[in-house]
Symmetry: D2
Subunit: 152 residues, 4 copies
């Protein structure tokens, strides 16, 4: 329960449709684990292709999953005729992303007509337990009257 | 010419060796385009697998290339018996990453015994011209006495 | 209740003593409203001298109170013979700081031997109610064997 | 020479007028040292009232000067009927702000209709020489049709 009322009743279908068009999500093997108004989780199972030099999840992969989780959390609250754009994010990697699965939990902390602010907490699952490994603050922009589809 | 004197004369071999062990760099098709003391460029050619929903480079892929570019710029100045860790970064996406190639240019702006600060400028090549599409500020940590190899 | 066990039983006296030496805290009229292990609140009453051009608290004043709140939250968990240094922070101003009082609540989210990560939520009190107006992610460093007093 | 063409020929008067209404700038003794299209410098002479516990400029004061320098650099390029708002900034403190004078140099790196991105480099003057002590990335928003004056 996030307490947010989506402007678009079809928000979940829109999030899932847009996610399916992100080549980068397929590349890293990401899945949409949870979609609610203002709250989206994205999960990624570990593969050696996702590693940095020590064999943990690469910080950039953590950031990629987190950027999309926050982006879709924001997008879930936007009007039907709009698109979402990441303005910026800042990520602190607070523990090694050493585990079998990554879960990025994007949450809107301040929705707005033009700008939306999200916090994303990223957890790594190790031995069945979730450990927080990263935290992000992210700013997103509503692109009004801009279809969310591919460039033409 | 960066003006930095590397503590380890073998810095380039160490950077190339560590880069080769990052599964995530192979996954996104990244190459080390330039390695100098305190300055590392990483380039990525566009493929649909690297896209967000509009068909541009995904912000997370931009961040992944940039995180490694800054990380290896910092690593190039570290002593031989150390390893590098990204503490945090903040990225502003200032223009659509719409182009055929991405070049992340990591530059040390403040080396330190424990912490190193980098700026990374990311350019997208479109029609043969470089356009800056992102800028990062990044904090990295020297892990002394810690081999840069895989976890044991 | 933060669940943190301070390394120094005199943590509160050390925080209060260091705070008293920060000229900037007196200049803006800041007071230490709460000191617990890993959790420090700093409050500032509004005066026109603290304003930006619209008459609200200036973003820099919000950042000044927040930087010290997070810094002292981190310092409260550090050993007796150490000092604290802000490495970096990122602040999102999520609502106008329009009110009669500001309360910056610094909380350690990841303590560490060398680096500590804090989140700071800043609230503005308006009509007796707290409204969150800013959120920060902050990285702090323990300076071991470095007295917290003035430069010599 | 910044290469930017201001939308408002009276940009300098507007910047100076708005600056004069920021109580916080007077409180810390800040002066407008340079105003050009997309480039504003703010200088602050040291006083003990601006210090942290070691007697250097407080990080929050560095941030306050820098936030206004970047904010006015952005504002200098905005249309006449608008106001500027800081969305967020991230600051790395890269050296102790130990000196007799602080100069925050705000530069627009990407102007936009809605959002403007600035980099701010902050220097401390010590023994007559400028040393860079902080670097910021900052996002600002144009508030169209919103007078820059006090709240009514």
């Amino acid at each position: 329960m996030t307490g947010f009322v989506p402007k678009n009743p079809d928000f979940e279908a829109r999030v899932r449709d847009s996610f399916a068009r992100q080549g980068a999500m397929a590349l890293i093997g990401a899945e949409l684990a949870h979609v609610a108004p203002g709250a989206v989780d994205i999960a990624v199972n570990f593969r050696p292709e996702l590693s940095q030099q020590h064999g943990f999840f690469h910080g950039g992969i953590v950031g990629t999953a987190a950027d999309s989780a926050g982006g879709y959390a924001a997008f879930s609250l936007m009007p039907a005729d709009s698109s979402v754009l990441t303005v910026e994010y800042k990520m602190n990697l607070i523990a090694p992303a050493d585990g079998e699965r990554l879960i990025a939990k994007g949450r809107v902390i301040k929705p707005g007509r033009t700008l939306t602010i999200c916090q994303v907490d990223v957890f790594v699952v190790r031995g069945g337990r979730e450990h927080r490994c990263a935290v992000l603050l992210q700013t997103l922009m509503t692109m009004s009257g801009r279809n969310d589809g591919p460039k033409e």
